[in-house]
């Protein structure tokens, strides 16, 4: 287990409001990690910083074996470096088919001319079929993504995330709007993915996290309140205070 992502001493201020306050988190490869915390604790902002959407006021974000700083990179460069993200609200390209959505996410060269002269290959088609089967959308490949149900869109986005084949998966509330059976399936997928790579999951649902059975980081007011197994952190008095809203 080596450290893949190191966030240290990061702070962000929005309009005088400190969303992230001297946050430090390390994620190893492979690892499955859950991040929990009350609303406004800075969970999503943490993902925004790692993926380059938000620039922190101070602090370092170091990536990979070569210790590259992610702060100077654009969103797309970070994505190409191997960080994939699933958004809280499913964002798929609704005007395009499920197949097109997956094909776009498929790990390939991303330059405009590479894409322009890209030729569909049987290997790519096979990979898409494999992913579609995994997310239960094999029969929906020619359908427009906009026609899918909320849960199916969640699946599609997870499928796109897997198609990217990233080293680090940042997953924001993957189980929202899913049936218990689908949740279980999601847990399986995430657990399997975490066997070879780093996966960070934000969730509110304690049941879901318990099933993941991984290390948990509790965020509060923009910094880490507690870290450890779920049982360990739920016995922490501070965490109990925060969650009970004292």
């Amino acid at each position: 287990m080596t450290t893949l992502l190191e966030v240290s001493g990061v702070s962000v201020t929005f309009d005088g409001f400190r969303a992230i306050n001297n946050l430090s988190i390390q994620v190893a490869e492979p690892e499955l990690r859950a991040v929990i915390g009350p609303n406004g604790a800075g969970k999503t902002t943490f993902m925004d910083i790692v993926t380059g959407k938000t620039r922190p006021d101070e602090g370092r974000v170091i990536w990979g074996e070569k210790n590259v700083s992610l702060l100077g990179m654009t969103e797309s460069q970070i994505a190409r470096a191997g960080i994939g993200r699933k958004f809280q609200k499913p964002t798929v390209f609704e005007a395009q088919t499920v197949r097109e959505n997956l094909a776009m996410a498929l790990k390939n060269k991303r330059g405009p001319f590479d894409v322009l002269f890209y030729r569909r290959s049987s290997r790519g088609a096979a990979r898409i079929a494999e992913l579609a089967e995994e997310i239960g959308l094999l029969n929906d490949l020619p359908r427009r993504a906009g026609e899918l149900s909320h849960g199916q869109k969640q699946w599609l986005e997870i499928g796109m995330l897997l198609a990217q084949d990233p080293r680090l998966l940042l997953v924001d509330e993957p189980a929202a709007g899913m049936t218990p059976a689908e949740r279980e399936h999601t847990t399986d997928i995430l657990k399997r993915a975490a066997e070879t790579r780093a996966v960070v999951v934000i969730e509110h649902d304690m049941e879901f996290i318990r099933r993941l059975g991984c290390k948990v980081t509790v965020l509060h007011e923009g910094s880490v309140l507690a870290e450890g197994s779920l049982d360990h952190v739920t016995q922490n008095q501070q965490v109990i205070d925060v969650y009970l809203g004292r």
């Binding site: 993926t51 959407k53 654009t74 969103e75 797309s76 460069q77 994505a79 190409r80 994939g84 993200r85 958004f87 964002t91 390209f93 609704e94 005007a95 395009q96 097109e100 094909a103 776009m104 996410a105 991303r110 330059g111 405009p112 001319f113 894409v115 322009l116 890209y118 030729r119 569909r120 290959s121 049987s122 796109m160 990217q164």
Partner: protein
């Protein structure tokens, strides 16, 4: 390994029957116009009508380019007519220079002593720039003597402008309405620049006499108009094919994704800015080629052609025709521009209301404006949307 390489090409036309349909219609139309034209002999269509149709084909080409940049990539550029105009200027410079050169040489040939190169150049400069009170050839005209170089300029100048402008604009992530206003500002700056007398392009006089092709003086306009008509049809066909191929594959998938949610595309690892830049520049170059074919048929180009309003009209055509489908843009450009010349040319009968007579030369723009509002409000898919109804009903 070779099999999947061949397969997609087969699939392209098979998957896009509309392209075949379009090319077929275009070929039939070209054939029809040729047979009916004055140059061919039947003379049912006058030479000026052939020119109008040829020019309309050029407008269809730029409309297709506009559709790609706006309908597919989501960049509402209010500046593509600037590139169209630049293409026209680039080719117009050669046409005007070469033609003036011919006139000057023939007028000097009567002199007892043959003219020197310097004398010829001076005479040309005086002839061209006398109207703006200058008798020197500006540096801009350094390549004007050579058709090859000037044709390169048709592609290079608008291409470079689009590249630099696009790089600046996309890099700082100017999007949406702001980008539209920025492109409009670019067009305004360019037309203001060209309106000046001392910038080397004859100010508001523009370039004229472009319908006379140097070296082809012996051919009648009826023949030349047909040649340009064919060239325009060919350009439209090739341009349509290029863009249809561009938007059909994975590239098309990516740019449509950029249109719908560019932030999400970034998180997939695509460098959104370079895609936009490629599209912006490529469409600018195609627009310039369309302009280079248009103005020799129009005969005159002046800075008013580049004014911001022209680019907005372009957006109007594409919107009326139907965005996000290439044939929609062609239909929009053809219908609106032909209707425009029919109404303003006195083709439509005036309507006498007893107390007031509706004169269409005056009221056409009112009709167009209100019609356009109606299309935006009630038929956002434009005329092309009607095809969906027909095709998808069964």
């Amino acid at each position: 390994m070779s099999k999947p390489e061949i397969a997609p090409r087969k699939r392209f036309l098979a998957e896009n029957p509309s392209v075949l349909w379009f090319l077929g219609c275009l070929a039939l139309f070209t054939l029809g116009v040729t047979v009916l034209s004055e140059g061919f002999g039947l003379a049912i269509l006058s030479t000026s009508m052939v020119k109008i149709l040829g020019m309309t084909l050029c407008l269809c080409l730029i409309a297709v380019a506009m559709d790609v940049v706006w309908g597919y990539c989501g960049i509402l550029s209010l500046g593509h007519f600037a590139f169209f105009g630049l293409g026209g200027y680039a080719v117009g410079m050669w046409l005007m220079y070469a033609r003036t050169e011919g006139i000057v040489i023939s007028s000097l040939s009567g002199a007892p002593i043959p003219p020197t190169q310097g004398e010829i150049e001076n005479a040309i400069a005086t002839q061209i720039f006398g109207v703006v009170g200058s008798n020197e050839l500006p540096w801009l005209w350094g390549f004007a003597h050579s058709l090859t170089l000037q044709l390169m300029m048709v592609v290079l100048v608008p291409g470079l402008l689009a590249l630099v402008f696009g790089w600046l604009a996309f890099r700082s992530r100017v999007t949406g309405v702001y980008l539209s206003i920025l492109t409009q500002a670019m067009t305004l700056a360019l037309s203001l620049y060209l309106f000046q007398n001392d910038t080397g392009l004859r100010g508001n006089n523009g370039l004229s006499g472009l319908q006379n092709i140097p070296g082809l003086d012996h051919l009648p306009q009826s023949t030349l108009s047909l040649w340009f008509f064919w060239a325009s049809a060919l350009a439209l066909g090739l341009g349509y094919l290029l863009f249809a191929w561009l938007v059909s594959g994975k590239f098309g998938s990516v740019i449509r994704a950029i249109r719908d949610n560019e932030a999400r595309v970034r998180f997939l690892g695509y460098d959104v800015e370079s895609y936009k830049l490629v599209i912006f520049t490529l469409t600018a170059v195609v627009s310039a080629i369309a302009g280079a074919l248009y103005y020799p048929q129009a005969g005159i180009i002046n800075p008013a052609e580049i004014a911001p309003i022209a680019s907005i009209y372009l957006a109007v055509w594409v919107a009326i025709g139907g965005r996000g489908r290439l044939y929609g843009a062609v239909i929009g450009a053809a219908v609106v521009s032909l209707a425009s010349s029919w109404f303003t040319g006195g083709g439509a009968l005036n309507i006498n209301l007893g107390i007031y007579t509706i004169n269409w030369t005056d009221w056409w723009l009112v009709l167009l404006g209100l019609g356009f509002v109606a299309v935006t409000l009630f038929f956002p898919r434009g005329i092309g949307g009607l095809f969906d109804m027909i095709v998808r009903k069964p």
